[in-house]
């Protein structure tokens, strides 16, 4: 295809600057380039990840042995609340947005997002929201203490200081940020695809981001509404949730979980999208069942809107409702299973190479599946009555969120690092990082299943001495520090390869999607030219065409 000839190199250079990364600080502060915004997101979230991780280590240190006096009761609850909120709202959701920002225009062959300035706005709101949330620690009476769920009346009647208000304000800002970003993703994917890229030719990661964005648009406002009502109850004397004055605390739980359950799929669907990109590349086979993977993403998202009360089995819902929410939750396991089997079928008889991105992806499949299985246990309400609010739930959610989402995030970082920075991360350090985290993760969280089955409640700052609880707890603490060491290896890897890492070619993994068509890192305008897209694996087509031309 002949593109317009009026783009001489010099003209393009003048318009877009020679290298989009080579600016001073102000260039980063004022940027509207989707790649820069994406990298800002990723660096910032990695910073918050370190903060959240340190908070987690503080908790594990306190719980290493019973009757420890490392943290006080009040400060333990603060640490717990900010840890959970940070990991969910400041790490996983935004880092997936960061990947989306960097990758969506590149993967669909666009010059930028549909609304570049809104994109920058969503990043800066995110940073602001994060700062407000963390500043909760410096409020009178300390940070919020209600956990990431912040149930009423705990958070309305029993939390006098302003830490909770900072928490609310922070989440308000963050939800506006995510909403703006989500609208931008949807419009970009609808409107900016390059020619030939129909809905069944977009990469599976794009399907995931599209679904993620739709879920955000649908459920984030519910969180905003719940937080607003909570704030009004706290500060304006209203009684939305106060049963003494005709309100209802259960109402808060419904509102929160109508948001909260889809939120967990907001955090896992793009992670699954990352895995669906990586597995075929390193198995050297096309994904098995593109359409099944794509439509199961949409199916999971749809069902995730119908299951929220599985978090509320112990509130005494009518048995009919309990049964409905039990069955709808179990139905979600079907499209989830479809994905897992499709990944396994992709691996089947593949020519597998075990590079670091692939190791993280394989780790993801194993660990995430375990987490999904414990989820099905919990979805059976008689079992949940026994296990709710115990460490079993903590184990479940970490298997799906850490072993799921964060493993996929690291898979994605190792995989797209060369495209982002032009240098590959070191493979040996990467494998060490993976091994330490995989082992540390299971040492930390596997025993928590047993703790939960033995009745140890979650969100407690200490426990009775004696018995096997002590053993499991100390094992868990050891595992958490092992993971921390693994994360230090990652930091080391980043620092070392920043100067001496192997330079990446445009397409170091021989992948099939469009982002590998351009240079590593890409120019400000992303592509000089684009092939016509005739299937979901455009680069393989290009490779084949070039091969054929060579033999002509």
């Amino acid at each position: 295809m002949a593109s317009k000839a009026n783009h001489h190199p010099s003209a393009a250079r003048q318009r877009f600057g020679s290298d989009w990364r080579a600016g001073r600080i102000t260039a980063w502060l004022t940027t509207v380039d989707h790649k820069r915004v994406g990298l800002l997101y990723i660096w910032t979230t990695l910073g918050f990840f370190a903060v959240g991780g340190v908070l987690a280590l503080l908790m594990r240190a306190q719980l290493a042995t019973p009757n420890e006096n490392f943290l006080t009761r009040g400060s333990y609850n603060q640490v717990l609340t900010i840890h959970g909120t940070t990991m969910i709202f400041l790490v996983i959701v935004p880092i997936l947005a960061g990947f989306g920002n960097f990758l969506v225009p590149l993967m669909i062959g666009a010059r930028d997002m549909a609304f570049p300035r809104l994109n920058a706005l969503s990043y800066w709101l995110f940073l602001l929201g994060g700062i407000v949330l963390l500043s909760s620690f410096w409020a009178g009476h300390g940070a919020a203490q209600g956990g990431w769920t912040s149930y009423v009346p705990l958070s309305t009647l029993h939390m006098p200081g302003h830490g909770e208000d900072f928490w609310i304000l922070g989440l308000h800002i963050l939800s506006i940020s995510s909403l703006v970003g989500a609208i931008n993703f949807i419009v970009t994917i609808h409107n900016m695809r390059t020619s030939g890229m129909t809905w069944t030719r977009i990469p599976l990661f794009i399907w995931a981001i599209l679904t993620y964005a739709w879920l955000l648009v649908i459920v984030l406002p519910t969180l905003s509404a719940g937080l607003t009502m909570m704030l009004l109850d706290r500060q304006w004397g209203t009684h939305f949730f106060d049963p003494v004055h005709g309100g209802s605390p259960i109402l808060y739980q419904h509102v929160f979980w109508f948001f909260g359950h889809p939120e967990v799929y907001i955090m896992i669907l793009p992670a699954m999208g990352i895995i669906s990109e990586i597995i075929p590349v390193f198995a050297r086979k096309p994904i098995f069942g593109y359409k099944a993977v794509a439509y199961s993403t949409v199916g999971i998202a749809f069902f995730s809107l119908l299951v929220w009360a599985h978090h509320m089995f112990s509130t005494g819902l009518p048995v009919g409702l309990d049964s409905f929410f039990m069955l709808s939750s179990m139905v979600i396991a079907v499209p989830t299973g479809v994905k897992i089997f499709n990944w396994l079928a992709t691996l089947w008889r593949g020519n597998i190479s075990f590079d670091t991105p692939m190791l993280w992806s394989l780790g993801f499949i194993g660990v995430f599946t375990l987490g999904g299985l414990s989820g099905i246990f919990l979805a059976a309400f008689p079992i949940d009555w026994q296990l709710t609010d115990t460490y079993f739930v903590v184990a479940h959610l970490h298997y799906v969120l850490f072993g799921g989402s964060m493993f996929a995030v690291f898979a994605g970082l190792y995989y797209w690092w060369p495209k982002m920075f032009g240098r590959l991360l070191d493979e040996r350090l990467g494998k060490l990082h993976f091994a330490l985290v995989l082992i540390g993760f299971n040492v930390t969280f596997l025993p928590q299943h047993f703790l939960g089955l033995l009745g140890m409640p979650r969100r407690v700052y200490t426990y009775r001495p004696g018995g096997i609880w002590e053993v499991y707890n100390v094992i868990s603490t050891v595992g958490s520090f092992l993971m921390a060491v693994g994360m230090l290896v990652f930091v080391l890897n980043v620092v070392i390869t920043a100067r001496s890492g192997r330079r990446a070619s445009n397409d170091p993994w021989l992948a099939d999607t469009l982002e590998w068509y351009t240079t590593s890192p890409p120019p400000a305008w992303n592509f000089d030219r684009l092939p016509y897209i005739s299937n979901a694996r455009p680069l393989r087509d290009v490779r084949r065409r070039l091969e054929a031309e060579r033999w002509k």
């Binding site: 001489h8 648009v217 459920v219 209203t238 005709g246 070619s505 590998w516 120019p523 393989r540």
Partner: protein, 205 residues
């Protein structure tokens, strides 16, 4: 030869390709309105939950004197008519713009703005004289929650209308370029329709 090498025979972006006929800004505002509907939906949920699940016996509940809280439905009805009228005036402004009738555009926008302002001021007066306060039971919380949330939207809408009106007087918008007007208009229609739902729920049912 790698697949990517052939991509760099010249420098600069290829022409932009749009994969949808919908204008991005219009799609964006519709998505935003979708999220707004969910926001209102949550407050409606709170309203119906507090009414049907938490207070099934008596709604509106009884005040200290033992009579149900009074809702000024007639005043609100007049106000509803005012707001609905403003939807027609902004439609007229848009149509005028598309026909190149600048005077119609300007008059339509001024009228819309004034009608919206009247609505908001009437609501302020209504709040002032209504006889109960935000802390009088969950009924009052949901009443002020829904109408207040809507009032905030009218306020934002008025700011948007103001900007559009000023632009109309500065000679912006033409029969071929009027997305700013259209997007603001979509939002204003939404604020209108949402009020009808709020009115029926809070004052009539």
């Amino acid at each position: 030869m790698s697949a990517a090498a052939e991509a760099h025979e010249h420098h600069g972006p290829p022409p932009i390709h749009y994969s949808s006929r919908i204008n991005p800004a219009v799609l964006g505002i519709f998505l935003f309105i979708g999220s707004e509907i969910m926001l209102f939906g949550s407050f409606f949920t709170a309203y119906f939950f507090d009414r049907i699940v938490a207070n099934p016996a008596q709604w509106p509940p009884l005040n200290e004197a033992g009579v149900p809280f009074e809702r000024p439905w007639f005043l609100a009805l007049i106000n509803t008519l005012i707001l609905v009228t403003s939807s027609f005036t902004i439609h007229w402004a848009t149509v005028s713009c598309k026909k190149g009738n600048r005077a119609g555009l300007q008059a339509g926008m001024v009228l819309t703005f004034l009608l919206g302002l009247t609505f908001l001021l009437t609501q302020v007066i209504e709040y002032h004289r209504i006889g109960f306060n935000t802390n009088d039971t969950a009924f009052a919380a949901t009443f002020f929650g829904l109408t207040g949330l809507h009032g905030c939207h009218v306020f934002i809408g008025l700011l948007i209308l103001l900007v559009i009106t000023i632009r109309a007087f500065r000679g912006h918008f033409s029969p071929s370029a009027h997305h700013g007007l259209e997007v603001g208009g979509i939002y204003w229609h939404f604020v209108d329709v949402m009020w009808i739902v709020v009115y029926v729920t809070v004052y009539v049912l």
